[in-house]
Amino acid sequence: MEFEAASKKRNKMVHMNQKLRRKITALVVDDDTTNRTIHSRLLQNLGIENQEVRNGKEAIDLHSSGRIFDLILMDMDMPIMNGIEATKQLRAMGIRSTIAGVSTRSVKEQVQEFMEAGLDDYQEKPLTSAKLISILHKISHNGSVVS
């Protein structure tokens, strides 16, 4: 089965990388070019290798092909597939990466709906180095990455 193979691959990589002490990897999911550029640079500045996709569906497709990331920065409002839907699907696929919702939404109910989709953290845009660092603390607490 596709996901089992991807999962085995991932476990092997984590085991191997524990010895290599590799860089943390991240995926930026956002439909806005300006935001993607800024978030990618923020990550790069903290030594985090990262990739960008433009919507939830591209994020799902990437994971279906076996790619795994330590951290996913997930925007809420995106065309084709939004952040809530994408987060639900990633969790259903068994993806245990740290997923941080990043959005301009501040209405409590909307943020709650996003959290309930399976987020580990939520930060209001615009993202800053400080907010990103607080997200990264969640990764080390999850214990899924050796830093």
Binding site: D32, T33, T34, N35, T37, I38, R41, T104, K125, T128
Partner: protein, 152 residues
């Protein structure tokens, strides 16, 4: 040496005025902090993306508000995008108009929306001019052999 000091002074003063007048906010400082030797043009690059995106969105907004039957959902989506990207580069005044704009969308108030469109176009044009001036002043400093001071 004198010329360089003058240019640097101009740059610092101009930047300060943009913050003081509310054209830019703290988020712009964040962008400047992300610029270094390996990403020397980061701020200009991001701001250029912002200009491209905004111009596209403003055109879409004008078109949408010109329709017989106005699609407020679509307009709201565009304004939401503009609000997001303006806030991520620190274009505070543009962002503020977007907030008012969205309220008119919620009320399905065409006239209010048209008014906001004019306002947001105006604020966008102002911040664009200001940022272009800022970049010119930076070029002046660099050409005179200086370096751009990091934000305080």
């Amino acid at each position: 040496m004198d010329g360089l000091v003058q240019f640097q002074r101009q740059l610092v003063d101009y930047t300060a005025s943009l913050f003081h007048e509310g054209f830019l906010d703290e988020q712009f400082n964040q962008l400047q902090q992300l610029q270094d030797e390996s990403n020397p043009d980061f701020v200009v690059e991001v701001v250029s993306l912002f200009f491209e995106d905004s111009e596209r969105l403003l055109n879409e907004l004008a078109k949408s508000l010109d329709q017989q039957s106005v699609d407020f959902k679509r307009i709201d989506a565009h304004v939401h995008q503009l609000k997001g990207s303006s806030s991520s580069i620190g274009a505070q005044r543009v962002q503020k108009v977007c907030i008012a704009f969205r309220n008119y969308c919620d009320e399905q108030n065409t006239e209010g929306c048209l008014k906001c469109l004019q306002q947001v176009k105006h604020e966008y044009s102002l911040v664009k001019t200001k940022l272009e001036t800022l970049f010119k002043l930076e070029q002046q400093v660099l050409a005179a052999g200086g370096s751009i001071p990091l934000p305080i």
